[in-house]
Symmetry: C2
Subunit: 337 residues, 2 copies
């Protein structure tokens, strides 16, 4: 009974490459008392995975020789804990492998509402990140202008749609004309900026004629700098991600205007991690599910097939190859209960 | 009837120098209906004065050929408005000159509680800046560690003392051993760091063994960068000033760690201007006056004598030559009412 795993062969010093990983055949683990054995169904690829390779963050760092870390949806195979039973779908951190044993407390039962991939996009961590970041940290008011970076990504695309539902003018920044067309077409953004072909600062000025009240930032770096100069007095910068700084061991200096513009414009820049808001998770998930069902929110996944796709999938994600939430299908879905 | 003024001859491109100013003899102005003629008694020198020369901020920029801007305490000489009468002390923005006419609405009556210079330090804009910035933006809790930069300056020295009163561990950063001795001696700071002789990052680690919960920042630049790496999860950075970036037309890039550390540590960086809190001014002033009277707060002023000292006084302030609040005595105090 084998278990295919992808382990970190060595930590990247510069951009992540395939040779930093290797596929390994291990024995399928056996649950000890209190543990649950699960089979990975879907693996989430997130820019943060690369940040975990830079060192300790809000969690322990990824280390060489270990199975690569990642969020997963998995099927319970064998449980020694009465709270879980075989066949059940759970959210857990199996990482990049087919099977894992976890303490029962490390598993969260999934209340199945819709297609399973949606539970890793709009109803999963990225959707919740967008929800709490925008509404609890950014606190937009109707009529305000919300700017979103990495807007065609898993989190940005949901954040922008929630801002639209909240009655804001929504402008997205993304890296291709195809992404921009998706934002202003299917997702209902009011405008979109292609940062690879537009001059970002001028484009923000053009598309945010009343300035920017909330900037939901997934990128950091130059886009953050350009945005700071366009913020309105009392504006809020939701520091959600810094993907421009993840794929390196030598992050760039911070944006000009820190702290000068923060003072003169009375800005609030605030970071958060979705887990900080998990006590409100159920209500948020119900709200997101309601919007999804009412076709107010579009969920889009970009699903790669097979565990062996994960390294190239993450590398491509960091280069912006995805539209929507990138997942890897590691194994078949169980029949819906 | 003359009026000595110091005007801006040209805007500095690099560090501020005396030749950027010139002394001018003008005619003493006559109040038009609705205006009040006042005589400047004390002129406040503030690092922000230099920032106003960099361009528009939260106020119109200082322009060449105009009288240099500055906050003042002045005596009413002649009033056409029934709310003011000759001999009264008011707070206003006469700038660097002996006499000015202002609309009555631009004057704030001073309720005299103590020595007049204290009304420009602890009870003036800098004391109120410290009060609101620390308590309303930083929101320290007893037992937390508060780090203050430019801690021997007008605002930092008050912010640190209020943090001490609030039951926090207080560590100051300043630019000389004399300043550090004053902080840990007379002001009751728990520790002080001389950024010119200590390695700041290591010194913060040593003196803030439990990390930094609130950083009250008056400097920006390298000290802000070093502090960000020492912040605790959920920490707050009060963006009060950026004196390291004022005396130049080419501000440095922002601190490393923005936005990466803001995210992983869930920091809040927030800017403010004291005027944002003026609706709470009276209560704050009463609280500060109470602490002053009870000897819980030390007020220290560094008073230069004569309007012609203002240029060199501001240049020296930007270089950190002051301890406490730097003022210029432009004219004699009226007899206390």
């Amino acid at each position: 009974m084998s278990n295919r795993q992808i382990v970190v062969r060595e930590l990247p010093q510069g951009p992540l490459q395939e040779h930093h990983f290797e596929l390994r055949q291990a024995a399928r683990p056996q649950p000890e008392p209190g543990q649950v054995l699960t089979r990975t169904v879907l693996l989430s690829l997130d820019p943060a995975n690369r940040a975990w390779m830079q060192g300790a963050t809000y969690r322990a760092p990824v280390l060489p020789g270990e199975v690569m870390s990642g969020f997963t949806l998995a099927e319970v195979v064998e449980s020694t804990d009465p709270r879980f039973e075989a066949g059940q779908i759970v959210e857990c951190e199996n990482g990049w492998q087919e099977f894992a044993c976890q303490p029962a407390d490390a598993l969260t039962p999934v209340r199945r509402r819709t297609a399973l991939p949606h539970h890793m996009s709009v109803l999963g961590l990225t959707g919740l990140t967008a929800y709490f970041g925008l509404l609890e940290v950014g606190r937009p008011r109707p009529g305000e202008t919300v700017l979103v970076s990495a807007a065609a990504g898993a989190t940005g695309s949901v954040a922008g749609q929630i801002a639209r539902i909240a009655g804001c003018r929504v402008v997205g920044i993304a890296g291709s004309d195809e992404k921009c067309a998706w934002l202003t077409g299917e997702l209902g953004f009011h405008a979109a900026i292609n940062y690879k072909t537009d001059k970002v600062s001028r484009a923000i000025k053009e598309h945010c004629p009343a300035g920017v009240d909330v900037f939901f930032d997934n990128t950091g770096g130059e886009i953050l700098e350009a945005s700071l100069f366009r913020m309105n007095q009392g504006g809020r910068v939701v520091c959600c991600g810094a993907v421009s700084q993840y794929d390196t061991n030598n992050p760039a200096p911070g944006p000009r205007g820190v702290p000068g513009l923060i003072i003169t414009k009375r800005l609030r820049m605030e970071g958060f991690i979705v887990m900080d808001f998990f006590h409100q998770r159920e209500a948020a998930e119900a709200q997101l599910a309601g919007w999804l069902e009412a076709d107010q929110l579009v969920a889009r996944e970009d699903i790669l097939d097979g565990l062996e796709c994960a390294p190239q999938g993450l590398i491509g994600l960091l280069a912006g190859h995805n539209i929507g939430k990138r997942l890897v299908r590691v194994g078949p879905e169980p029949a819906k209960a």
